[in-house]
Symmetry: none
């Protein structure tokens, strides 16, 4: 729609690209908002403009979104599990094969990108820690991935130590219970 039909191909001029982007973005946002309201669909939109930072838009009442994100993440995980490939390949696959359907809700006021970046960094850090801890737990449970014999021995020592600690704790608890039972018995004897 316009004075002439526009060929859909990359606009070479940067200025023109940005200008068109600005206009069309507005249009798509409007459409997305309408869709959101008309059809009650939850939406989230991720995008990163070549000249800008990554941004995520989430529909306001998109409670279902988190579940979508979760399922999405599960999808990628399953893909990885199934093929024993790593995240990157999985991501490529998603990029290449899936389409992004999207809706967005426009949310007016801009927050600053720096804050967002901070969150992203913190998130990444936490996730790294979590992954590390998970790995420890996983190796404990299933040591078949551990290749280093010395590490195995160390783990074994730890396990034995833990087991000993656990057993003495169990004994301690058992003893305490015995004491309680005897006290109870004693009281009963007094009552009779």
């Amino acid at each position: 729609m316009g004075r002439k039909k526009l060929k859909i191909q990359r606009l070479e001029d940067l200025k023109a690209r940005q200008a068109k982007y600005s206009k069309r973005k507005t249009g798509i946002l409007k459409k997305a908002k309408e869709l959101n309201i008309l059809c009650e669909v939850d939406v989230a939109l991720l995008f990163s403009s070549p000249s800008g930072r990554p941004t995520l838009f989430v529909g306001q009442n998109s409670t279902g979104l988190s579940s979508i994100l979760k399922r999405l993440s599960n999808l990628s995980f399953e893909e990885r599990e199934e093929r024993r490939t790593y995240t990157i390949e999985m991501l490529k696959k998603i990029y290449e094969n899936s389409e992004s359907e999207f809706d967005l809700l426009s949310l007016p006021h801009a927050t600053n990108a720096d804050t967002l970046k901070l969150y992203e960094d913190e998130l990444q850090e936490l996730k790294d820690k979590l992954v590390e801890k998970s790995k420890i737990l996983r190796d404990w449970r299933n040591p078949n991935n551990v290749e280093d014999l010395n590490q195995i021995k160390m783990m074994e020592d730890h396990l034995i130590a833990s087991l000993n600690g656990l057993r003495s704790r169990r004994n301690q608890l058992a003893m305490e219970q015995q004491i309680r039972e005897r006290e109870l018995e004693g009281n009963e004897n007094l009552e009779t």
Copy 2:
């Protein structure tokens, strides 16, 4: 655009809602693809249809989105580690339902408050998980805080199982090493 001007408000009739969704979705997707090509913008879109069908679209070349997706996959990985739950069915469903196209859409400037909120929620979630995991590790190492005798017993069983796994893994590694040494010996004998 249509025979009459449509008021933007939730369509009460389910059928009508689904029908409109289907049509408008197509339109938005087209627009997004155009925007992608015209302006070189990378996008990913998540949405749930009125019938609750989740779909993911990701634009090609959306490098900026990879980190987000990566973290999503990590999240699910962690979740699964922790809870040992599987949602393969769900994943398959998502996969089958996603159509193959590419759309992208872009947004330059505005970040929004919802984005931050999403991150905050995710952060809190991660922190909770980290705390939980740390607690598990701590209890293993030092069971003196564990009060429940049954839990102690469960932990003991787990430890024993892990220990067995560890020992068989150790044996396996040792055996492999022996084999390697013998092969090496054999080669040396041949050489001399």
